[in-house]
Amino acid sequence: MASLPVARLPRRGWGRRTSLFQWRQPAFWLYAVVVSITAVYAVGQQQIFHELSPSGWALSWGLLLVYGLPVFLAIYLLDLYEREPMSLVLGALVWGAVAATVMSGIANEGWGLVVARLGGPVFAAEWTAALTAPVVEETLKGAGVVLIYLIARDEMDDIMDGFVYGAMVGLGFTLVEDVFYFIAIFGGTTGGVLAGFYVRVISSGLYGHVLYTGLTGIGIAYFASRRGEATVGRRVAVAVGLFAAAVGAHFLWNSPLLNFFPASLDDLGDWLQFPVGAALKGLPLLVFVVVLVRLAHRRERMWLGAALRSETDTPALTAGELQVLLDPRAKRRSRRVMRHRAGVAAQRLLKRLQREQVNLAMMRTRAHADDAPEVARQRELCKSLRDGLLAIPGATPAAGEPSP
């Protein structure tokens, strides 16, 4: 891994924790007003679905929780070193589930009328979903990511943060949209809901709104966090380019182009054909986003390494511990080994030590001098934690050296 000086990799807000509830931020009040108004409509819509099919509605939400919880955790845990504040993450999820879905419903209808007016009813029936929803929905979801940034500017200090917030907005959106489809389109019966779950979640759940808005979020975070590193033109170009990529992917998904979906689900062949058709349309975007996320991880590791390299000369961190910190798998392995050798208490202490060492990196990037009081205090904390760990019988080999 390349060793870069800390000064060349500034992260202004690393380690700060800001909640959603910023009473003095106008962006918070816009967020609150829009979510409050749209929540009235959203609740009303869920009540209608519940009245139409109580069991189908409950089954829909039950199935979506089974899908949504792991996806939520996977997105949240993607940020390896600095997890985003939970209130902001949930704020993003709520924006997608409530504000973006309700406003999209109203907006799609209006722009659908324009398409039909200009293209006629037959054209509209085939193309409205492709021509209106991608621009409308990506804009309204992206607005939520921008609002989260405006509410807590320090929290979006790298593109990974943008992906996390964007993907959370997308997850909220897709959960509510899925309920709509299960009840209104697939009929709300047990069989209908299960068929809808197969079509929209099992076959295509990897390719939808989570990726689109994640991509938009990466662009917004790039624009916001690369001030001073990249020109305004480049930041705008990246943000607009990634938004356009999200809209383009959404357009392709909604359009009749490259459509290899079966017309109906009559036999086993139709059921098997559906995931293949979905992969054809969605897999390229998934690969693209995975590559971007891996690049963001690499950049985070570079930051951590650059911030902590000079700390290996202090009692706070050894060179071996730094190697373990930089490799998430090695970090998990070291904890397992510690538990095996010295028990659960030692494992917890090692986890705490590693967390405080990451916090030390964040403090170093914020502090004006290497010997700033808060940095010195953090070094002492790390040292005392290691001393405590080494005092536990059996802990010595795993604490000081990289795990086998």
Binding site: Q25, P26, A27, L30, V34, M103, G105, I106, A107, N108, E109, G110, W111, G112, L113, V114, V115, A116, R117, L118, G120, P121, A124, A125, E126, T128, A129, T132, V136, T139, L140, A143, V146, L147, L150, R153, F180, A184, I185, G187, N254, S255, P256, N259, A263, S264
Partner: protein, 193 residues
Amino acid sequence: MSSLPEAAPLPSPPHRERRWLPVLAISAVLIAVVSGGHLAADALGRARGAAVIVGPSVEVTPLSGWELAERFADPPGVRLTKGGANLDVITLAFAGSDADLLAEYVQQVLEPDAEQLQVSEQLEQVTLASGLIGSKITYVGLFGDVQAPIEGEVIAVVSPSGTGVLFDGWSPAGQLQFALDEVDAMIASTEIA
């Protein structure tokens, strides 16, 4: 000219975050996206049209923004359209009840065209402005090569003189609710001799 003692450089003014400007910009984007389509569609709309003759004894009057998109020959009918919403009005001589007419429409028109079709199980009774009573069902389905699901409501009316009239109001799924009031208003005001 006396030289002034060199002043200490002034500290740079604190960075003022523009907190309102981006919020106003976001508000403008939200308003434009949410209401822009409706405003544009209204601008593209037309004034209330004249009555459209469907058949020898049936006349329907399009509301503002609705226009005649198509005429059908056999049986005679018209398609009125406004944006994604459509109202097909078909007339034919019919000897049975409105429920029979409705059942024939489902079996002979909707089902053959549909890849998937779900029709409401219960008939609902409706009363036109003229006092004629008809039956109504709703449906959701996939039709032909059209990608998006279609939802609709069908009302069948048979006049005492044996004139059967079928009204099929339909649109891409999720959009009908926004046009339903106007569809029902046009159906209710249809003149059937």
